[in-house]
Subunit: 374 residues, 2 copies
């Protein structure tokens, strides 16, 4: 694996994609609720089946193997655990998109927009679409748990997995609530710590920690090793989210204003916070005014863009995200794994970094400073 | 139990109420997400702790005992199963209230209104309240499953319970979607069968079938007996919902227009459908116009009320609901239970009917016709 992380990843990816299709075909009989519901099931198949990065299932399957898991990647018990995380993700996306009133997801309509489109002659179709999507999200959450429940595993392994899974789902919910509540606070009342906490709860835990921990548990790893993996997932998760902020901003800088939902929504991202910190008092006031405007117009949005550029926060965060990727590697080097495990995990982190990386390595050697220690 | 269903019910009710408090106290440590989240946890405690009928936990505990369960009602494994259904109910209510934009629940603010009130100086507080409530509902769903997962039970019993629980949650979701989609259809395109199906999926299954089946499984009952109980739950569930329609309408008839959300929302209830069927062509047209009006004004609502009264559908449904209660009793008499089981179950159904009954028995002897057979 260490020589060809890319092609290995392609293989696992392919296995997983096939399984999604198989899973939804088999599952169809459980959703035989009649003609009114059927199109929604197909919409869901399409939504979950859209080309995505599949970070969570890939990480789960790779960490399973890295920690000594012996089953092949076509084994259904492994694939069921993997799909439970992908379905958790789909459920979160469906609700998130309703909450943010987003219109696009993976280049196609969000779930509530799909429903809305089916109702195009009706009054109140927008609200109906959102309402149906909320409930459909709930059903996907139940589907995710069922996938895990039905994995053919020893009872105690499944209990450990289920306990973790529900814990992560809860953490993620709290992170989303932080996101909503911080979004309506004035930027001066949102600390960097608040944002880091929100990022950790909302994304890192279910995207990086959950698959690493669950893959390891599935392989029969000790709690000690699971804990080490969780520690490595932390900087990786933050790096991923910084890269995400930067990606959104690059769309924003190019042209597609509609794509950068976070800025349109007045979300308190780390980019906004870091930019704000670097502005002089006059510019800070401008930024505050723009973020607090009840309706964001093109001019307020462009002003925010200018202020972010002026702050040079982008360069700072590019550097930080690279350092965070390195932090994961350093933690791996220091952790008590066998040489084989370490090699496998290195391949896994490398492959995942390639999947998520937007910003490529800067030419200068990155500093080894402790990140966000202040 | 058969002699004093009332006082026995009071005892079980008391045990369960005490457990809710204990559960939320113990659980608090799992929701230690900081000061921003803490008030929401307390709001949730208040919301779940509000005086309710507790039909689901009571039915679960009583059917457990009726089918030979030996543990006392202070046993945590039984109480955890019971609370999992009450939490499922809370989760459903929280989402339902957001979907219907309801303002009151059990005489107090709905969950999203509680959140909204905490944000009273902010712009967009209404939407923030709804968004937070959607996510909080998700977290309550996870809490419900966790309660069941942590019940100290043999693995195979818990798996059976969990499988059923997730199935019922899924059915309920589909029922809610039917409710939403039928709500925006013209009444002429909503059949009585559509409404009966929606009632069954949305309410009967998780309110009556789930607790009966889960209580029986917990007691170690065979699948055969579980199935018999499910068949008895069906007419009981429909009777309950008819009584609910009638209760809403009686509020509506008295004065409190705000209370009758279903009619305000243009929901396709059985009462609306039965009334429509009994009207002449001119009145049918009026009813259609009122139900389809994009904004319901006082005059359209009063017109609907008049038409329902004119139709005499209320008297018909009062009679039907009494017949349905009897149908449950008849099914019990015919089912293959031991005499002891039958006696216990009779006590249970009697106690629950007293809890849910709004309309008291009519003086004339009810007919034994098959209900809704056409």
């Amino acid at each position: 694996m260490q020589d060809t992380p890319g092609s290995d990843l392609d293989f696992i990816y392919g296995q997983f994609e096939n399984f999604i299709q198989k899973f939804f075909s088999e599952r169809e009989a459980c959703y035989e609720y009649g003609e009114l519901f059927r199109p929604l099931y197909y919409d869901l198949c399409e939504f979950v089946g859209r080309k995505g990065k599949r970070i969570r299932p890939l990480l789960l399957m790779m960490s399973y193997r890295a920690l000594g898991g012996q089953k092949s990647f076509s084994d259904e018990s492994v694939l069921r655990c993997a799909i439970s995380l992908e379905l958790l993700h789909s459920f979160i996306l469906i609700h998130d998109d309703v909450i943010d009133r987003s219109e696009k997801r993976r280049g196609l309509p969000t779930f509530h927009k799909l429903v809305e489109q089916r109702l195009n002659r009706l009054d109140g179709q927008e609200r109906v679409g959102q309402n149906v999507a909320v409930v459909m999200g709930d059903m996907v959450f139940a589907m995710a748990i069922r996938a895990l429940l039905e994995a053919d595993l020893p009872a105690e392994v499944r209990d450990r997995l289920m306990g973790r899974f529900l814990g992560y789902a809860t953490d993620t919910g709290c992170g989303e609530i932080y996101d909503i509540l911080l979004g309506v606070r004035d930027i001066t009342r949102v600390s960097r710590e608040d944002i880091l906490k929100m990022y950790h709860l909302k994304t890192t835990l279910y995207t990086f920690e959950a698959p690493c921990a669950m893959g390891a548990i599935l392989a029969g790893a000790s709690e000690g090793k699971v804990k080490l993996l969780c520690e490595m997932a932390e900087p990786l998760g933050l790096a991923f989210q910084i890269q995400n902020d930067l990606l959104e901003f690059s769309h924003f800088e190019s042209d597609d204003l509609l794509l950068s939902t976070d800025i349109l929504e007045g979300k308190k991202t780390l980019l906004i916070r870091e930019a704000f910190d670097r502005l002089n008092e006059v510019d800070k006031t401008f930024m505050q005014m723009c973020l607090n405007a009840p309706v964001r117009t093109e001019s307020t949005i462009l002003k925010v863009k200018d202020l972010i550029q002026k702050s040079r926060a982008v360069a700072y965060l590019e550097q930080k995200s690279l350092e965070l990727f390195e932090e994961t590697d350093r933690k791996l080097d220091a952790a008590e794994f066998s040489e084989h495990e370490r090699q496998e995990l290195r391949g896994m982190f490398k492959a995942i970094q390639q999947q998520v990386r937007v910003v490529s390595a800067a030419p200068q050697a990155p500093k080894k400073s402790k990140i966000f220690s202040s």
